[in-house]
């Protein structure tokens, strides 16, 4: 058994995102695993641990997948952390590899979400003729969703963006729609995106309103998909071929945070503080600053969310997210390309796959293998996810020096 503090992605794979009516979660997850193993040039015999996530599934996805790709008796961790599930699976494997318990590990996230409706909202209504009875920690006599604000994801994240506008000004419906226009435009170069058609600002603003100011194309696209990654430590990597060493991507930072208490977090989830905390830790661990990044994949679950994360990830000065966007910086030809994959709004958001798929995107660029959408000369990139409740995963990835 080898051990080193250096952690690398040896192989990584993302399936086509979209509708896969003939594949179940196990088929999709197995496809991602086979892709990642082939990319790494290893087999299940080399893998010492597996961590897997499938948020909407029945559980034990790791063992279900082992039965399709190889039951080797290794420890299997089933993880669940809302939209940060994939990043949490990866982080789990990284901790095991870094601790020296295994040389190599496998993380996978998979979701079947095509055709799913509005997420987050709901509650059980009172049956007719019943007498009022108090339920839950608010002692409510009926569902609070829709009667005391909203629990629907588009509405929650709309308020997160609007709150930024209240604090700093300049954020209006048109600005948020322009962010979405950017990501839909980026997706035209991504053959694995669920949607890869450009949309005009007018089309986006005139589409169905879901939760003002988020219209339908400004919301993350529910779709099917999977992603998987093989993690290895630096010592073991040195024993592999020069080609494997050359294509391996260094994990310069791997951070997971939860939301610390803030005054308003009981009424509106605070996705800002935990992201800022994670970003601080990630930059320190990697020894890089935001100015060193060549691309960023951030959690644009809604157009309103992308804006606040420019600020939270310190891609701009505090309060400067609107100016940052309007400067053209986050476009693929700008000085800090953000979501060149198309982001969750058009690449899609199969929940548990997202936190590994964003890392796959960054790996493609730092390896110089991103094809038509390659950010030229990319050496360092950052991948960020938020799971509401809340969890934040940030990984910083760097090109191999080999």
């Amino acid at each position: 058994m080898s051990r080193s503090d250096d952690i690398w992605i040896l192989g990584i794979h993302m399936t086509k995102f979209g509708k896969h009516p003939n594949l179940d979660v196990v088929d999709l997850g197995a496809e991602a695993i086979h892709g990642a193993l082939a990319d790494a040039g290893v087999t299940m015999a080399d893998i010492g641990i597996i961590a897997a996530g499938n948020l909407l599934g029945s559980g034990s996805i790791a063992q279900q997948l082992q039965k399709q790709v190889g039951q080797t008796g290794i420890p299997a961790y089933n993880v669940s952390n809302a939209c940060a599930t994939g990043a949490t699976a990866l982080r789990t494997v990284i901790m095991a590899v870094k601790a020296g318990e295994v040389d190599m590990g496998l993380a996978v996230g998979v979701e079947k979400l095509a055709g799913a409706g509005l997420l987050g909202a709901g509650g059980k209504p009172k049956a007719d003729n019943d007498e009022w009875a108090r339920n839950g920690r608010f002692g409510a006599v009926g569902p609070v969703d829709g009667r005391i604000g909203t629990e629907s994801m588009p509405g929650v994240f709309a308020q997160i963006g609007m709150e930024y506008g209240h604090k700093y000004g300049g954020a209006d419906f048109e600005l948020f729609a322009k962010i979405s226009e950017k990501n839909h435009s980026h997706s035209t170069l991504n053959p694995l995106a669920a949607y890869n058609k450009a949309m005009s600002l007018e089309q986006i603003m005139n589409d169905v309103m879901i939760a003002y100011p988020n219209t339908r194309p400004m919301c993350s696209a529910n779709c099917d998909g999977a992603a998987a990654a093989v993690v290895i430590n630096g010592e073991k990597l040195k024993t592999l071929s020069l080609e494997q060493q050359r294509r391996a991507v260094k994990v310069s930072a791997s951070i997971l945070t939860s939301d610390p208490w803030q005054e308003a977090c009981q009424v509106l989830p605070d996705v800002n503080t935990l992201t800022r905390n994670a970003a601080h830790q990630a930059y320190e661990q990697a020894g890089v600053g935001p100015q060193d990044l060549n691309l960023v994949e951030l959690h644009d679950c809604f157009a309103t969310a992308e804006l606040v994360h420019y600020d939270n990830l310190m891609l701009c000065d505090e309060g400067g997210a609107v100016d940052f966007f309007e400067s053209g910086a986050p476009y693929r030809d700008g000085r800090m390309p953000v979501n060149v994959s198309g982001g969750l709004q058009s690449k899609g958001h199969p929940i548990s796959a997202t936190g590994i798929a964003n890392i796959w995107e960054v790996c493609q660029h730092v390896r110089g293998e991103a094809g038509d959408r390659q950010i030229e000369g990319a050496k360092v990139g950052l991948a960020h996810v938020i799971g509401l409740a809340s969890a934040c995963g940030i990984h910083i990835l760097e090109r191999s020096a080999a």
Binding site: P154, V208, Y212, L268
Partner: protein
Amino acid sequence: MSTATQIPFVEYLNLEPTPHLVANECTSCGARYFDRRNACAGCFNTEFTSVDIPTEGVLRSFSIITFAAPGVEVPFVAAVIDCGGTSVRANIINCPPDPEHVSLGMKVRLATTVVGTDSAGVEAVNYGFEPA
């Protein structure tokens, strides 16, 4: 005049003497919670006292919800109100649900609305905020 018995929709709404919200305030750090807590999420203290929340505030954020769970009337305005330093989640009521009538920073005040009546004739009264 109605003779119906009324109860608040949630336990943290007090209808008497005039409708207002009541929070559990941590006796150590002053953090306020509308639900019951085993301990303060900010400082872990386990003692709380009841405090009345101001009924006037400022609209800090909102969204106009057009798609919601079955049984919820749409469109409606979901909002966060700053009531003298305590953040409150509520719907904006007695106001057209459109961006021309709802704006960030507008002053609002607590108002009540009847949610429904049960088989015993008891009305459940909810709160919202209306333009002040």
